[in-house]
Symmetry: C2
Subunit: 343 residues, 2 copies
């Protein structure tokens, strides 16, 4: 007659309510809480005054961030003093170049509400962002404002830093001298490559408005002898010739036809023995493990006309089709990998 | 000159994009995917046809659910056959009484968009649900429709089953004969108590529209000799007298004044030595570990006028104030506990 606990709905409920933790962190980023605390620890009352928060849920909000691991605290409630953790102090302080909050502000203000229309996206195959109402995604606005563009470029780099460094250290650069990073943004990937492999010369290739920001970054790092900047449009222009062509989170934005066109441009820019390196959240071939890669592909549904993430097997098929001889996969930080094709 | 990977923004990005996994699961529940698959495994094409899905992201959606652990699969893409897991087959099939999807449908259609206004809630202290536009929360509609009410009651019970069973087995009932469950809903908690402790007689107390549904549940389980149903309003009426008074997820809906009023009614209904048992996501006293309890409290901001979740220390203070002699805390399933006060 006794009743039994298993099976349990715990995992279903945890993921089903996962948007609570998500929105709590995103809201804190959006209100610049971590930037405020980067100037020094603050009492709950000070935070309340600075952010204009109501009494009712002040401590629930701040203590939820403590429990999630994004703040630390001494005291409690009226005696509480809150402090950033090492991670939030480095990555969520707007005044540091390592700030990645630009991505999270975008997630808070755009992606969170757009993802509410996932069901419509799945039924129509159409993006669910500003384009639904004939609006422009904010990238045009970002590109028109150098300050916004700079913040966005640093945020993208912050997200990718682990991948950039792992690849720079683990890939065998010994047979190569030159590298061109297509969609190189602020030049951070090139910077990590030359710092960890001083015999390599990098070219960072991106749209013209990006160049002054990249120049600033590369000059500040004293790497202008090792990293050249080149401006162009990868749809209009051929790729600069190099021993290695890299593309980080570029291919997943586009449909299969454009993916093939970009892979073919890489092939033409490489010498025999040269390498194409694609860094993305490559989905495992069984499509049953890399949840983040599969969810990123759904984000491409929300955000793009035809984009999707892909497996190493897909990469193999496309690169062989274009003429590459062999391929290999190098796992990087978390859900990301480098898919490599040799000409 | 080499660059280093640590610290890493991985935890920030994982929680910051956590709404992707959440919305993917909620969307699947909302489209009745798991109910469809409870009738037997289906190919991707069959699922596509039944749910009216577009080609573009069909397999990304289904395979994301595989990677998250909510579906299993043989074959891949065009040869894929999808199947519920044990958990999703039991808890997300609308045709089973164990269905908890009613809660998740509500999370998908109401809470997800309402939580987009968390920042406004934190700044104003006001709920961010239908009441913002002078609308009524859907509970009135649910109470007016016996089929909806029945589904809702089963869903709430499904969520709580682990807590009900753990408490029924771990609490020492030997000194007691009668129990009254305030806000007893479908009588599931009473049912688990009497099945695991046959010497106890339970009364399940809730609003009048709940009674026929509870009667059906108790009769089906052949427990009508052990469980009595009583109808009333815990704001208007005194509690039925019993050796143990229980309240599950009742107190967190209300402000401190109403919480005290309900605790006092429990005190008056108990004999000397009697026990008040409150089952909730009790926040740890340090308010730094039970993230789910703290986030549930933010959900009470979104959903109620004055509700909030609380610590065992808060419970101690309130129960002592009302006259209870001693208290103890019994951890239950996951983030939930039973806070117990003895008269």
């Amino acid at each position: 007659m006794e009743t039994q606990i298993k099976p349990s709905p715990a995992a279903i409920l945890q993921i089903g309510t996962g948007f609570w933790a998500s929105k709590t962190l995103l809201t804190a980023v959006n209100m610049n809480l971590f930037t405020l605390l980067a100037n020094g620890e603050k009492s709950g009352q000070d935070i309340q005054a600075k952010l204009g928060l109501h009494n009712r849920s002040l401590y629930d909000f701040l203590d939820a961030l403590v429990a999630l691991g994004f703040l630390s605290r001494t005291g409690i409630k009226e005696t509480a003093v809150y402090k950033n953790t090492e991670d939030t102090n480095l990555f969520l302080d707007k005044n540091k170049p390592s700030y990645i909050g630009g991505i999270l502000e975008m997630a808070n203000n755009r992606l969170y509400p757009f993802w509410n229309d996932l069901e419509e996206g799945l039924k129509t195959g159409l993006p669910q962002n500003e384009s639904k109402n004939n609006g422009q995604p904010p990238f045009e606005l970002i590109y028109a404002d150098p300050a916004k563009l700079s913040e966005f470029i640093h945020a993208m780099a912050g997200v990718q830093t682990g991948n950039f460094i792992t690849f720079s250290k683990e890939f065998d650069f010994s047979n190569y001298k030159t590298l061109c990073d297509i969609g190189g943004s602020g030049g951070h990937f090139s910077a990590h490559i030359v710092m960890n492999n001083p015999h390599i010369h990098c070219t960072s290739f991106d749209l013209l408005p990006v160049e002054p920001i990249a120049k600033d970054i590369i000059n500040t790092m004293n790497l202008s002898d090792n990293v050249t900047l080149a401006s162009g449009d990868f749809f209009e222009d051929d790729f600069p010739k190099a021993d290695i062509i890299t593309m980080g989170n570029v291919l997943h934005d586009w449909g299969e036809q454009d993916k093939l066109m970009l892979i073919e441009k890489a092939y033409r820019a490489l010498p025999i023995g040269g390498a194409l390196v694609v860094i993305e959240n490559i989905i495992d071939d069984a499509r049953s493990k890399n949840a983040f890669g599969l969810l990123m592909s759904l984000n491409m549904l929300i955000e793009t006309e035809k984009g999707f993430d892909f497996t190493f097997e897909d990469f193999n098929k496309w690169t062989k089709q274009v003429g590459f001889k062999s391929t290999t996969l190098l796992p990087l930080a978390g859900p990301a990998s480098a898919a490599i094709a040799y000409k």
